[in-house]
């Protein structure tokens, strides 16, 4: 019989054991009677020979080998009984644990979904993202379409595929609506290994500008617009005025979480960037073919990169191609933030464990006599440790179970709260990995808070413990208790200082002047109408028409064009010099150059520091002019007046350009990021002076910005309609308000502060509860001693001081230890969160003050109670 079957049939086995032993006794009695004894005597003799049946049964049970399981069962029942009797303790411990494990589990499931889980694609480890990289600016470059085609053609070890964000107004089969989409190369779905729900992927011949217009839609859109009907395949949908035939239904794809329509990238030929090798606007991923490795693929990419640089030095010189595992690439810069949060929440759980450990310890000390009694009755040390550990584990599992519930409820709201888009958010959820983690966290916390009390449990000096009354102050436990409180306080200090550092950072950042007036500005990228891209004059006329149409939109006050929008991704660096001799290209200073129209100053609310901004009179036939920001003025001319001076900027004109004005610096790289940017100089030049041959390139780069008199979101739709143009294909996309762009640049700091603030508050509260609990407990144990002291003449102040002194060393030790941890934590934050400076002493000071006050209050209450002890009552106690 297996041990577990023996366990299941325990009752039957017990009955049989009883029957067997009874049979023995009765037979012996019968034999004795047969041998001439009278029945009474026979029974007595049989018993004597046999021994105690209960002891024999007990030994038989031991022999069965299932003893530990049965003990475990009875220990669990004992623990549950204990919790039921001690409701207050149970409630506090369970609540603390539920919140602790719950929060940790939520954080873990996010980390797991975003960072740890393999991508949901076939052989995801063979997928890479390919980025462009230059020595000066690192791996921040996308691909130009032409470069992508060359890489795709030349690579032997990679199946490369590309996509670009797209989308637009979809009509047909329901109301017209704006839908996010992606333009993808025909190889994308096969490379990712995605099987379409229905229909087929794009064919290579459809991935060309003359290919037949076909479209793949997401299953989400399929359900919404077609109700999941199979006839959707073959029907037509209109996207941005162009009719497409639906050929496939795609499942939700992690890379394109928001995309509902997919069109062939090669058909976006109307987008002028498609034919510009310098326009690095598409993203490239690739699957490493079997037989190749990441290293061999990289070697090949190096070769292709060098070949491209030789072939097209104007665009690709110094441009390297770097392949990175796709999962890592997708997680991007969320990685450190997530680990920081998981660490912080882990600290909270640790504090909670310490809290519960000291609670259990306090209970254990008051149960010392009970435990000593058990030991005296023969319970072994191992058995007592096991029982105590079982109690802790029961608590841990109950708390962990509640924590899982907390996490299950809390996970979605938490993800929704995340600022900006969390990569792979749709993959975050509850699965066996998360449950396994919760289980491990519960066991671990049970072990942490159960071990110290358990090891203490077997009473040393049994006899003394049994003889002593409650008067026996548990001096030995004071050290352990103090240790827990010190640990808790130290961890709380770490979290408090971290929150303080983040809070200061946020205050500092929010008080910074962005350099632009964020209110009532809407920005949008503009895709010009294809028909106007014929010659420079037509393009200029079309832009003028666009601005006029925009200004006529109700609510629009002013309108401007620019190729760079403050605080939005995108940059164009141009070298400059204040002398005619340019330094060599890799050493020339560069400035962020924005090509703008005259209204830019007013739309953005730049501050004019000197000179003037552009006017309609700054034309191609006039002197080339620029406006620079104060940072660039300082770099180029020092303290001397900049207005009226000349700069040499070969990218703009062969002749020197005239500085006609100086404006305030704009925090282009975000409120937080600007100070850390390697380039901070800014220069503006008029679109009107862009040479004719470059007009087409610039037309493809232009965004528009409007200052509104009314709520900015109200002008978006009328603006979109008013500027469609005579051919109806001039399109506004990536429409954002400046407020959104600025807010997004601080969102991470704000979110981190919120969470660290919550964690720190929780930690402080728990630590103070812990301090209070331990002091109250220790003090209550000392009541008889206090009674003696007071009877001998100590006054209440002296008694109070005696108790407070006890808390003071815990607070000081905790704060000291915590300070060391906090310095390390502040370093981590400084490294991983943009805009965080070195922690200032005042942050530490304020934190310590807050901790000190809170801890003293927690310590004061027991001290006051001690000072009010009635000596007579105290001496009579016990």
């Amino acid at each position: 019989m297996n041990w577990w079957r023996r366990l299941l049939r325990r009752k039957q086995i017990e009955e049989q054991l009883d029957k067997e032993l009874r049979f023995h006794l009765e037979r012996q009695v019968a034999d004795l009677i047969a041998g001439g004894h009278d029945p009474e005597q026979a029974r007595r003799l049989a018993r004597l020979a046999f021994g105690g049946p209960e002891q024999i049964k007990e030994e038989c049970r031991d022999a069965r080998g299932t003893r530990w399981v049965e003990d475990f069962g009875s220990d669990v029942r004992h623990a549950l009984r204990g919790l039921r009797h001690n409701r207050g303790f149970a409630a506090i411990a369970l609540l603390t644990l539920a919140l602790g494990t719950g929060a940790t589990t939520v954080m873990f499931s996010v980390v797991d979904g975003v960072l740890l889980k393999p991508l949901p694609y076939r052989e995801a480890e063979r997928l890479v993202a390919i980025n462009g990289s230059t020595e000066k600016y690192g791996e921040n470059w996308g691909f130009s379409y032409l470069d992508f085609l060359d890489v795709q053609r030349q690579s032997q070890s990679l199946d490369a595929a590309a996509w670009n964000y797209g989308g637009g107004t979809v009509s047909g089969h329901g109301e017209a609506e704006y839908i996010d989409g992606s333009a993808v190369s025909s190889g994308l779905f096969p490379a990712l290994g995605i099987r379409l729900v229905r229909g087929r992927a794009f064919r290579p011949e459809e991935d060309r500008h003359e290919g037949s217009p076909v479209m793949i839609i997401s299953s989400r859109l399929w359900q919404r617009r077609f109700g999941g009907a199979p006839e959707a395949i073959g029907s037509s949908l209109t996207l941005e005025g162009k009719s497409y035939t639906v050929v496939g239904i795609a499942p939700t794809v992690a890379l394109f979480g928001d995309s509902d329509v997919f069109t062939p990238l090669g058909q976006s030929w109307a987008d002028p960037r498609m034919q510009n090798r310098g326009s690095r606007f598409i993203r490239v991923i690739a699957r490493i073919r079997s037989g190749a490795s990441l290293a061999s693929a990289q070697t090949e990419l190096n070769l292709i990169g060098r070949r491209l640089a030789e072939q097209y030095p104007r665009f690709d010189a110094g441009h390297a191609l770097i392949a990175r595992p796709l999962g890592r690439e997708l997680a991007g810069d969320v990685r450190p933030t997530l680990w920081l949060l998981l660490g912080a929440v882990g600290l909270v759980l640790l504090i909670a464990c310490a809290n519960i450990a000291s609670l259990i310890l306090a209970r254990a000390v008051s149960r010392e006599r009970e435990i000593a009694m058990r030991a005296a009755l023969g319970a072994g040390r191992g058995r007592l440790v096991r029982q105590s550990l079982t109690e802790s584990l029961v608590l841990a599992f109950a708390g962990g179970g509640l924590g899982v519930l907390v996490a299950a409820v809390g996970i979605r709201p938490f993800v929704a709260l995340w600022p900006g888009s969390l990569p792979r958010a749709e993959e975050i959820g509850f699965d066996w990995r998360v449950l396994l983690f919760a289980l491990a966290a519960s066991i671990l916390s049970g072990a942490i808070f159960g071990l110290a009390p358990a090891l203490r449990a077997p009473a040393r000096e049994l006899e003394r413990a049994l003889r002593a009354g409650a008067r026996n102050v548990a001096a030995s436990s004071r050290g352990v208790h103090g240790g827990f409180v010190v640990g808790q306080l130290a961890l709380a200090v770490v979290l408090l200082v971290s929150a303080g550092v983040l809070g200061r950072t946020l205050l500092h950042l929010a008080s910074l002047d962005p350099g632009v007036d964020l209110r009532n500005v809407v920005t949008a990228r503009v895709a010009p109408a294809a028909a106007t891209l014929t010659d420079a004059a037509a393009m200029r006329a079309s832009w003028k028409e666009f601005l006029d149409q925009t200004r006529r939109v109700p609510g629009v006050e002013r309108a401007t064009l620019t190729d760079i929008v403050p605080m939005r991704a995108g940059q164009n660096f141009l070298p400059f010099s204040s002398t005619p001799e340019m330094p060599p290209p890799d050493r020339a200073p560069v400035a962020l150059a924005s090509c703008v129209t005259p209204d830019y100053l007013e739309v953005m609310g730049l501050r004019l520091k000197g000179g003037r901004f552009f006017t309609e009179q700054d034309r191609l036939d006039g002197v080339p002019v620029v406006v620079i920001d104060e940072v660039m003025a300082q770099h180029a001319f020092g303290r001397r007046e900049a207005v009226g001076r000349q700069l040499w900027m070969p990218a703009l004109s062969r002749a020197p350009v005239q500085v006609i004005g100086v404006v305030g610096h704009v925090r282009h790289w975000g409120l937080a990021g600007d100070d850390h940017s390697s380039v901070r100089d800014q220069v503006y030049y008029p679109l009107a002076q862009v040479p004719d041959r470059l007009m087409r390139l610039f037309s493809s780069l232009m965004s528009a910005a409007v200052r509104t008199k009314i709520e900015p979101s109200a002008v978006i739709d009328p603006w979109r309609r008013a500027t469609l143009g005579s051919t109806g294909d001039r399109v506004l996309y990536e429409v954002r308000t400046l407020d959104e762009l600025a807010g997004a640049s601080l969102a991470r700091q704000r979110f981190l502060l919120l969470l660290f603030g919550i964690f720190a508050g929780l930690a402080l509260l728990l630590a103070c509860i812990g301090l209070y609990g331990v002091l109250a407990y220790l003090t209550s144990r000392r009541v008889p001693e206090i009674g003696v002291r007071m009877a001998l003449g100590a006054n209440s102040h002296q008694v109070m001081w005696m108790v407070l002194r006890q808390s003071l060393w815990m607070i000081c030790a905790g704060a000291g230890l915590g300070l060391l941890g906090a310095i390390a934590a502040a370093r981590l934050l400084q490294r991983f969160v943009e805009g965080v400076g070195p922690a200032e002493p005042s942050t530490f000071g304020a934190t310590m003050a807050a901790l000190g006050v809170a801890a003293l209050v927690a310590g004061f209450l027991p001290a006051r109670r001690a000072s009010r002890v009635d000596p007579i009552a105290a001496l009579r106690q016990d």
Binding site: Q16, L17, K19, E20, L21, F23, H24, R27, Q28, L45, A49, F50, G51, G52, Q55, I56, E59, C60, D62, A63, R64, G65
Partner: protein
């Protein structure tokens, strides 16, 4: 049973061997084993009845013995133990090693007697 009789305690571990031997003669219940132990050892060996049953259960647990509930000659149900194949193998090795041990001990004891002469 008078307790004053001079009896030796069973050497450690030999109870199992004796039980296996007795059971090897045919299925038998616990009381039968106790009786047989007493008869065979002619009251020389103290058979602690208290440790008989735990030993039986232990042997059953290790798969050396198997048990069935059967009717006795008096018509009552009793638990009859029998030897398993594993038990028989164990009995043989144990018996052999016991044999070797006792021979060796006897040899040593004789030697010391000769030495004393």
């Amino acid at each position: 049973m008078p307790r004053s009789n001079p009896k030796s305690d069973l050497p450690q571990g030999t109870l199992d061997l004796l039980i296996l031997k007795i059971v090897s003669l045919g299925p038998v219940h616990g009381y039968g084993i106790a009786q047989r132990l007493q008869q065979v050892s002619r009251d020389v060996v103290q058979t602690p009845q208290g440790s008989l049953y735990p030993a039986l259960h232990r042997l059953e647990n290790r798969g050396l013995l198997a048990a069935d509930w059967k009717e006795t000659e008096t018509g009552r149900e009793a638990k009859f133990y029998r030897l398993t194949r594993k038990g028989r193998a164990r009995l043989e090795t144990e018996a052999a090693s016991w044999q070797r041990l006792t021979e060796a001990v006897a040899l040593i004891l004789q030697m010391s007697e000769e030495g004393a002469k």
